[in-house]
Symmetry: D2
Subunit: 254 residues, 4 copies
Amino acid sequence: MEPWRTAIATSNATGIWIRGHEITSLMRGHTFTDAIVLLHLGRLPSPGERRLLDAVLIGVADHGAGAPSCATARLAASGNRQSISAAVAAGVLAIGDDHGGAGSNCMELIAEGVALAARDGLSIEAAAEQLVARAVRDKRRLPGLGHRVHSTDPRVQALFDMAREENVAGSGIVFMRALEAAAHRAIKPLPMNIDGALAAILHDMGFTPPAGRFLFIVGRVAGLTAEVAEEYEREKPMRIKFDVHYDGVPPRTE
Amino acid sequence: MEPWRTAIATSNATGIWIRGHEITSLMRGHTFTDAIVLLHLGRLPSPGERRLLDAVLIGVADHGAGAPSCATARLAASGNRQSISAAVAAGVLAIGDDHGGAGSNCMELIAEGVALAARDGLSIEAAAEQLVARAVRDKRRLPGLGHRVHSTDPRVQALFDMAREENVAGSGIVFMRALEAAAHRAIKPLPMNIDGALAAILHDMGFTPPAGRFLFIVGRVAGLTAEVAEEYEREKPMRIKFDVHYDGVPPRTE
Amino acid sequence: MEPWRTAIATSNATGIWIRGHEITSLMRGHTFTDAIVLLHLGRLPSPGERRLLDAVLIGVADHGAGAPSCATARLAASGNRQSISAAVAAGVLAIGDDHGGAGSNCMELIAEGVALAARDGLSIEAAAEQLVARAVRDKRRLPGLGHRVHSTDPRVQALFDMAREENVAGSGIVFMRALEAAAHRAIKPLPMNIDGALAAILHDMGFTPPAGRFLFIVGRVAGLTAEVAEEYEREKPMRIKFDVHYDGVPPRTE
Amino acid sequence: MEPWRTAIATSNATGIWIRGHEITSLMRGHTFTDAIVLLHLGRLPSPGERRLLDAVLIGVADHGAGAPSCATARLAASGNRQSISAAVAAGVLAIGDDHGGAGSNCMELIAEGVALAARDGLSIEAAAEQLVARAVRDKRRLPGLGHRVHSTDPRVQALFDMAREENVAGSGIVFMRALEAAAHRAIKPLPMNIDGALAAILHDMGFTPPAGRFLFIVGRVAGLTAEVAEEYEREKPMRIKFDVHYDGVPPRTE
């Protein structure tokens, strides 16, 4: 087997280096969020970027035990009390397009919109308008817009205010606000959700679309571990019961 | 089904609260590491504690693609290129007593040693001595001590220096240094490893033993996501080959 | 890296062999259950053993969507509709000591009881009596006995009848019936459950204790795949909601 | 929370029913493979169908420890020796489009080809020809055709011979042989692989495309459990080492 190649981390008997930075130097002078950026982008963040990413990770860490990822982790812990890893991993497995995955899909849309504007000499607003028109025509949902509970998500405004304060705001935020406005005109009020805000900020920091999913997972695992810890401490195994209604073929008499 | 109960997070149409803190307030004024402590301990860390936990999380994030968790994540991505969640979860599943799990086992030993000292009016050093003698008698390994590569782990000294600088050092660090010294006398030089240092610091911050495993997972997921991202970007599916030597019963002729 | 060694399967450009049997020969003349025994024990089962193992695997495949493994798989599919593997794996992760894992624990008890009888020249009944007395003294539950719903599990009698018909019954079944009787005398009526019956039969077929867990997983994955298939076909993403009652510290005003 | 609905299995204090069949009746008179068909299709197979599905499940169960699913399961067990479920689940997570997933993609192509023939009044051969031409034009690979090791897969002929013997062969097999012939003419010799044969047979038994993936998982879990059992029995934790070549930015001096 040929050696694997990697540009992320290396170690020998005397030390460990992450993207070329000696690990104890990182440990002494940097935050975990710095290390997350370094691992993914190969560079340390500016202070403003660090503050933004801290806010993004906090914003997705946890909003309640009933979210699919948290509930899946707890349910796995309910049957299998012998493996912390198994419960946390089960929670991660519930993360997909419908839960936590809209950020990366939205980052693809942002990248497409920004590229479209550049290619055709359009304003970002005009590009957003075209992409909304296409979504209407193809009857597809726009990622990053819309809420289950019909109200404004306070995390969105908080993130965008911070992005402006820290001068991190770029074409991602411009595009997402333009998308929200164009969708309002063409469809109905569809306020931006946390996935859309996360996507805009990660785009403006230079992340590629899959990072929307990777960083959601990093933030959410902080919450998943706390949920599983509480399940172990407060609850008995097998405590979760579901009412199930069988509507299949009736029992046969054989 | 009765409602689930939780003391971690709650949300309604107007906001989200983590351990009673409004989420946008956390996002504006705190770091991700603060939120991790809040989620797990129900309180925010002191600046010194935050710095220590940042260092711990960086210290376990990644030290190379060949570690079982990183390699498992990459291997899953090699066969299944359609699910980021699946690859990261596979990596988490490789974390156990032999990889990333020694911290929580070591925290149990620390708790036992500190309780023994309190109960019998012993010094921490005398308690450590007794626990080393017991391990020798029972032929059991001491968690938190010893290296595969026979040298000092630079992360240990860095963490303990920071703990002293920040006044976070407590009975956990005292116990682990006493354990290391007693093991040296009774067995052989067994320098403390990262699991032992992590255990000492988490103990001194007030975490219970399972947190050793939970926080290893939180830190390592930062590395796992970067490893999977690199696998997607640089490598083709199915690229990982193993040489396998079959030594079972020979093919039958039927 | 040294080659991995294995005695299970090998292949080259002309064929595949499982435990020395050419795979197309197995495909033409044997059942899947035969192959499961061959993979695990290195030999094909007798017709009676095959029938027993078929019954065991059917017996654990599925008993309803609300079991932790099935519910965990569905819940993961509810958030992540893009990966069949992820949903099935999440279901597997809910299998542990409290759900599906009692069989292997019970097989350890059987092995201990049978060894105790041999070592001390006791009858199986006397050995069972001693192990019940120990469990009472140590306040430990006896694996394989007792039901959540207080009634006789019809699968137990069916399996034991078949074992007798097929002459597969051995010391495992004798021990489990003796354990049930001794527990009845010393504690209360604790009818044998499916884990206990599975353990007895697998012991009598020559499986070691971990097989209790491995074969539960093999049988249950048949059910998990059907549950996930139904979730995909009949239900929308994100359809599973939980009522959650927050009882933590009240929201702060900051 | 509303009750979940299901048509698969139900149970009460007196019994368990799968698709309306009482479970002990299934256990007494049927095979595990019968139960797999019943769980997925809601009906028991004919004797010929049972024989075919047994052959399919054996055919995908295992062909060596180095396959991504088997290697991922072993690697997880190498770091985490405390959870059988975790290791098996990790192996399942390596199953995707590139490993074990081609069957379901191929079933979609068969369904498309058969529908195309019916809609346009074409022969199956003409429909296969059109779909090969489209794949050539779109530069897409044809699922179910082609081998890594350039030779005929003996499992394919074995399955098709049995399908003819048992009168299970239908439009799925006709289509796949036509696809293979059309690809040979238009591209190059691309002998059918096990995924293509599995797809043809499952199509002819009435399974829908996702079943290609579900049934691969059911078969492969038999092998994964045996691989993990062997890893536990023969190997030490942490035994798997990888050579890793770091080619990132060189260590900095700070």
